[in-house]
């Protein structure tokens, strides 16, 4: 097994920051599929078996992709330093849409001001909300991806709204 190949694949997994397919590794390194398979096997052996107690990082297969990640037991620390995918202002707008859906963009504008336009664009691009023409404004709802993302066991807008409302009341009562 080539040591150099293993180092190349390792550097791709590290810098990709998300699961990558063999095809993507091939494109980045120019290595053959066989060499990549061997290198991945070698990396899994090194990280997860040989260095098991000497590292907090693991290499895993997720579906058809591979990724390098922090082991579960070190997850809490990494959560503190890793940057969240959705910035706080944007998350607030998403929360308002989820609670008030279906909501007219013009009404949301009255709640948060003109930044609504930029936020709706960004959340639509992330496929978390859907904006449908409704007269001179847009009607906003969450998409199928939304419950998937937050682990909510429902896809219907009204059920999601209810679920969130209950959760909020609970957290206020605490």
């Amino acid at each position: 097994m080539g040591v150099r190949e293993e180092r190349l694949v390792e550097s791709v997994l590290f810098s990709a920051s998300k699961p990558v397919s063999i095809e993507e590794i091939k494109e980045a390194t120019g290595l053959s599929k066989k060499k990549i398979d061997e290198a991945l096997e070698g990396l899994i052996q090194t990280y997860n078996v040989e260095r098991k107690k000497e590292t907090s990082i693991e290499v895993i297969k997720a579906g058809n992709k591979y990724t390098m990640q922090v082991k579960k037991k070190f997850f809490d620390q990494s959560m503190m330093v890793a940057e969240p995918e959705i910035r706080s202002h944007l998350l607030k707008t998403l929360a308002l849409i989820a609670f008030h859906q279906p909501i007219k963009q013009s009404n949301l504008r009255r709640m948060i001001g003109p930044r609504v336009y930029e936020h709706v664009d960004m959340l639509s691009a992330m496929k978390l909300i859907c904006a449908k023409k409704h007269g001179s404004t847009e009607m906003l709802t969450t998409t199928k991806l939304f419950p998937e993302y937050f682990g909510i066991d429902s896809t219907k807008p009204e059920e999601i709204r209810e679920f969130l409302a209950k959760k909020v009341i609970k957290s206020i009562e605490k």
């Binding site: 920051s17 929360a95 948060i112 001001g113 937050f150 909020v168």
Partner: protein, 254 residues
Amino acid sequence: MIKRSSEGDYLSAVNPFDRSVHLVFDLVLNQHLNPWDIDLVNFSSMYLKRAKEEKIDLMIAGRIIYMAWKVLRMQSDNLVINMEAKKEEMDFGWGDIPTGAWLESDDGYSYTNLVMKNPHPPLEEPVRRDSKRKITLIELLGAFDQARKDVEEFQLIDRLRKEERLRLAEKARKKMKGTVHEDHLEEDIALIWEKICRYPKKFMSLSSICEKTDPEQRIKTFLSVLFLAYEKKIKVFQRRFPYGEIYIKTVEYT
């Protein structure tokens, strides 16, 4: 010969190399090409090589060397100015820069030269992870809680802002009520417009349509003229700013 070579008179160089070098230096000296685009090190080694290999015209060589010296002056002038800037700005912790090593203009000069000429910059962008973590449901709930407070605050500020706007508009209206301006502005505009239309030419000065000695009359005329310009009935301009005469030109279709 030296005197002639340093003067601006053009020397017709026969050798194509001399001609091209002359042309490039001329671009820097007279056409404001960036002096740092000239690789003097490369130039001098090529020129020395040629001097060794063939007979060169000393008159032209003198002129070219003089031009090269001027380009070098322009390059180093930039650095000298930088050094001076450094001395002025010493007060925010830059005072510790040693006067030896890197402050020497030689080092600054060669560094700048090398950075400009080398295809690779001396800085390399690092490869790091760009990992972003997912948002949890708890965070979404927290965000809603915060958003509710933000909305309340936003709506309160928005309401206050609207009320304040109304209050100011009302105040302004009250102030204007009964004043000469409110009562007569429209009348004044109509009057001035009539004056402009009656004027024998399409082009006139402001002082030609109002009483020069009466300041109130002048202000009234000026205000009306501004309104007419706003309505695109006339064009208003001034040749000398700010104290020159104000001119009025009626727009063609009128």
